[in-house]
């Protein structure tokens, strides 16, 4: 089980801010593929991966990063702070 968090328009498209996902995905990309296969709303949300960022346990990471040992995965659009 892994905690998956969504922010900004990704959160709105998926409809929840966070959820627990039962997965044995090896990488972030594998997890995205599982989610996309699950329901249309994930497919829509993850349609343009270049416009998304990912953090593993609150550290920015790439889509090819391994999920072993990770407790929290967050997906979000590019940040617009400051």
């Amino acid at each position: 089980m892994i905690d998956v968090l969504y922010f900004a328009w990704l959160r709105e498209r998926i409809g929840v801010p966070r959820e627990q996902v039962e997965t044995s995905a090896a990488t972030v990309a594998d997890l995205v593929a599982e989610l996309v296969a699950r329901e249309e709303r994930y497919a829509l949300a993850f349609a343009d991966r270049a416009s998304l960022r990912v953090a593993l346990d609150q550290q920015l990471a790439g889509f090819d990063a391994p999920l072993a040992g990770v407790r929290e995965v967050a997906f979000f659009p590019p940040m617009t702070g400051g």
Binding site: F7, A8, R11, Q58, P78, M79, G81
Partner: protein, 147 residues
């Protein structure tokens, strides 16, 4: 160094004075204050700022550590609001204290560039036409390459 991510409004002038009073030995203090600008059409009702509690603090603290080491800062301060803000409201401020101006300016600009593109905040503009997530600018991402 002090970092606060908070929904509450704050007084940037009072924060700057307090920061300066604590920055013993500083010859140069730079502050940046970011304000909610109205839309081009002048119809902005509010700006909603979402963030990622936990990661926000971790990411900003890491930027501050990096800035302090790189420019030998005497002190640094970051305050960033989240939640619902109105046009003209203060969104955030950065302050840096150093012996000389070049270091204080460089560190403040570095912190701003990183806050813009690497701290997990997202801005949503609310107008009579609806809510609109602010898109990240290529120029903000490009600004990071100078550091």
């Amino acid at each position: 160094m002090r970092l606060s991510v908070q929904p509450e409004a704050f007084d940037p002038g009072a924060e700057a004075n307090c920061f300066a009073a604590g920055a013993s030995g500083a010859g140069a203090i730079v502050t940046f204050t970011g304000l909610v600008r109205n839309s081009a059409a002048g119809d902005l009702l509010a700006m909603q700022i979402e963030h990622y509690p936990g990661m926000t603090e971790t990411a900003i603290a890491a930027m501050m550590d990096q800035a302090q080491a790189r420019w030998s800062l005497i002190d640094a301060l970051v305050i960033h609001r989240h939640g619902r803000l109105l046009p003209g409201d203060v969104i955030m401020m950065v302050a840096t204290a150093a012996a000389h101006r070049a270091e204080a300016f460089a560190a403040a600009e570095f912190l701003m560039d990183y806050l813009k593109s690497r701290a997990p905040f997202w801005k949503c503009e609310i107008t009579p036409a609806g809510a609109h997530w602010v898109a990240a600018k290529d120029s903000d991402e490009a600004a990071l390459t100078r550091w």
